[in-house]
């Protein structure tokens, strides 16, 4: 017994020492370390040839030019052009297709069949949340073709702002410094305009503005009245002195008014202050083919109650929203609501069907001129990555309802622009700017697809915007509102979650 036990120990000890002399243990620890270095589940970034491609950011109406660094065909980072930087959200645009709440599958054909059946004898309405696109024109043509088609635009009249001429801005809750205009333009102009923000909430713009008028919620128009007439305004919660001094300032500087909701009185005041025609002008659109027969833009307020049988909402690119409460009343009792979106966040909650759409930078389309560009522009956003199977192109879908083939709409319009022969096209790859007449149509089209922007020539006087009846759209969303309503790239967690730079609403 004793002997064996001792032998056992001897053996163990000898074995241990022997093992230490063999490379085995060292090898083992080294391997352990290596394993801990490429921990399971850590993706290996794909290497490959680096390429640069250009497109336009479709996240907001600013439509900034984008320079994409790609490995093969996969963009790995986006950046603006020199002097035309992107905002935080534009920088992560290439990751938008991977956002968590994305809807990918739906039975488009079934939905199409249902709509087609009802379209025969019911009112079909399209709600366009980003008017002025070629897609918008497709909708208008389709609605014109349908027996009882109605085209609803979130914003009826789209005024443009001539920032260069602006000396002072009084903004009624417009996020001037947070997702309103083209970041670079606003940034450059910021040095020469004074910003007065009238807003109940403590928004970023309010706190970065030169002056913040903390008014009571819903008293924007009262403030306008008070400024216009010099009377009243007690309801806003501001004292008369403040209002008087502001009014005084405005009169002297010939200020510009911006309103979150379009209203006649605001435009009226702008006109009174001489802003209209100088700093606030009519939005100009790029030429469209004469063959296109559009339906008129129907203001939502003038739609009869409970008349809409089928409501199609294009959320694939949304700059402004019509509150659901305003839409609800217009719907017939058994109305069919279909929304084209990539996530449930927006109207998806109320719609019966949600048809998944491609998101930037998968989608193909054009971006209407930015609010701060008085000149007409034409810019394409071209897919940097291929859209997943099963996504629907809203323009082609709705065009299809009226037997309109919208597949080539963009190209047709580009043709029309080229035919008009005005303006010039500046290509981003080489930064050159060529007059349209010096270049062939197909070169023009190719240039636009490789990242170029057509800009109308400055000539011609700036027309005052046509005033239409007010529409209840909520325009000019700041990024917090966008984040709440629409899809956002996963990395927004850096801004909203991992730091308290921004506050999710």
């Amino acid at each position: 017994m004793k002997a064996t036990r001792r032998d056992l120990f001897k053996f163990a000890a000898g074995g241990a020492t022997g093992l230490l002399l063999t490379p085995a243990p060292w090898r083992l620890v080294t391997d352990a370390a290596l394993w801990s270095e490429n921990w399971p589940g850590i993706p290996k970034p794909v290497r490959g040839e680096l390429r640069t491609r250009f497109t336009h950011c479709a996240l907001c109406p600013a439509g900034c030019a984008v320079k994409a660094r790609c490995v093969g065909d996969q963009p790995i980072s986006l950046i603006g052009l020199p002097g035309k930087p992107l905002c935080a959200f534009g920088l992560m645009g290439h990751q938008l297709p991977y956002h968590a709440g994305r809807v990918r599958q739906a039975d488009a054909d079934a939905v199409r069949a249902v709509i087609a059946k009802r379209a025969a004898n019911e009112t079909v309405a399209v709600l366009d949340l980003r008017p002025g696109r070629t897609a918008s024109w497709t909708y208008r043509r389709a609605m014109a073709a349908l027996p009882r088609g109605v085209y609803l635009a979130a914003r009826s009249s789209v005024p443009a702002v001539n920032l260069d001429a602006v000396k002072i801005i009084l903004s009624l809750g417009v996020p001037v410094l947070d997702g309103w205009g083209t970041p670079s333009n606003v940034q450059q102009a910021r040095s020469h305009f004074r910003l007065i923000q009238a807003e109940p909430a403590e928004s970023r713009t309010a706190l970065l503005a030169d002056q913040w008028l903390k008014i009571r919620p819903g008293t924007e128009l009262e403030l306008v009245e008070a400024l216009a007439t010099g009377r009243g305004g007690a309801g806003t919660g501001l004292n008369e002195k403040v209002i008087a001094s502001v009014a005084n300032e405005l009169v002297q500087a010939g200020a510009l008014f911006l309103a979150a909701e379009e209203s006649p009185s605001v435009l009226e005041l702008n006109r009174k202050l001489g802003a209209v025609g100088k700093t606030i002008v009519a939005q100009r659109e790029a030429p469209v083919p004469r063959s296109w027969k559009p339906a008129p833009v129907t203001p939502i307020n003038s739609v009869p109650e409970r008349s809409i049988g089928v409501l199609l909402i294009d959320e694939s690119a949304a700059d402004s929203y019509v509150p659901w409460s305003k839409l609800e009343g217009k719907l017939a009792p058994d109305a069919l609501v279909v929304t084209f979106a990539s996530s449930q966040a927006g109207y998806g909650r109320q719609a019966k069907h949600l048809l998944p759409t491609a998101v930037y930078p998968e989608s193909t389309g054009d971006i209407p001129p930015a609010i701060d560009s008085p000149l007409a522009t034409f810019r394409l956003t071209t897919p940097l990555v291929a859209p997943p199977r099963g996504v629907v192109n809203p323009a082609q879908f709705i065009g299809g309802l009226a037997a309109i083939d919208a597949a080539d709409a963009l190209r047709e319009r580009a043709g029309a622009i080229h035919a008009a022969g005005r303006g010039s096209v500046c290509t981003y790859a080489d930064g050159r700017s060529i007059p349209v007449e010096d270049i062939q149509p197909d070169q023009f089209w190719k240039a636009l697809n490789d990242g170029a922007c057509w800009i109308d020539e400055p000539g011609g006087k700036l027309l005052p915007p046509v005033l239409r009846a007010s529409t209840p759209a909520v325009v000019a969303l700041n990024w917090e509102k966008r984040a709440a309503r629409g899809p956002m790239p996963p990395l927004v967690s850096k801004l909203y979650q991992e730091s308290n730079l921004r506050v999710r609403i």
Binding site: K2, R5, R6
Partner: protein
Amino acid sequence: MLMFGLYSAGLCLVKGLNQTNMDNRFAFGLWIFLDLTVIALGAGAFFTGFLLYILKVKELGAVINSAVVIGLVCYSGAVAALLVDVGQPLRFWFTFWYPNVHSMLTEVTFCITCYLTVLLIEYVPIVLRNRRLRQVPSFLIFEFELHKLVYVLAGVGTFLSFFHQGSLGGLFGVLRGHPFAFREGLAVWPSTFFLFVLSAAAAGPSFILLTTWLVSKISNRQLVRPEVLPLLGRISGMLMIAYVLAKTVDTLIWINHTSPGAGVPAWQYYSWKPFGTWILFAEIVAFGLIPALVLLTPRLRLRSNWLVSAAALTCIGIALNRFVMTLQTLALPTLSFDPFLSYFPSWQETGTFLGVVGFGVLVYSFSFRYLNLFPQERDLEQPEAAPVREPALAGRY
């Protein structure tokens, strides 16, 4: 409790440290605090050994075994907690492979591992003295021979302990980024280095005193001669008073020179509730000076309840000091625009903590049950029977 501890630790190892409530500001939490405290309390092992084998204070032979076991328990517990605490436990050996000799943590790691081995070796004879094991002659002889060499180990242990106890203090003393903890010092070591050595040496005997008292209460047996505990108390008291004095001087220098030098007036630290100046007072006076004085007053020292409570106060004082050094340091903001943070350990952390404690208790009680931790115990058994008379031949002597 042990199971729960293992489960929590397992969670932290498998799922990662997101299980804890630590964060980027509170990079250290309950565990580091635990380690520092436990190691300070475990200092009894080296200090008793030092006194007994190097300075030949024979009376301490009564508690040396118990001291060694306590030391072993504390250190192994601390190392276990550390292994859970680091993000990549598989890489523990990197510290030995690529040591950055300027880092206090390197020093700590090296010393603690060495000292743990020393403690293990010192523990071997105690184990081998078990009656059953002693039946094996080779064990018997080995124990005997090893015991003759134990003073060498005691010497090494003292050396190692001195350095890692100090380095543990250094850990925070060198944090230039935290004016609250940063101290200038002698040579390469900040003053906290020496303060920690002193405080650990002071706390060690107190903790042994405490455990001995506790064990004898629980087992209601008399384990050591009555004069031993007061002796421990006296040693602890003398060191404690020295520590308190040193600490006071250091604090004054810090308040008037070091901290303003870093651009922060010292009052600012204490403007953050709940860490008012009371914590400074508690640390130095309530849990420092008072027990020291009690332990140094012979009359009080001989009253066991005074003695024990003073020892307890000392231990609490040291724990408080470690708490201040670890958690308060991290809680205080350094930049003007970062907030004062508070931190509360998650149940996984607490579980691991309890697990370590449970492990300690288990090992100690097993050792107490099967090994002879208190050699004097046999001598102190009181015969309950009446002295034997011998009726037949009574009055013969």
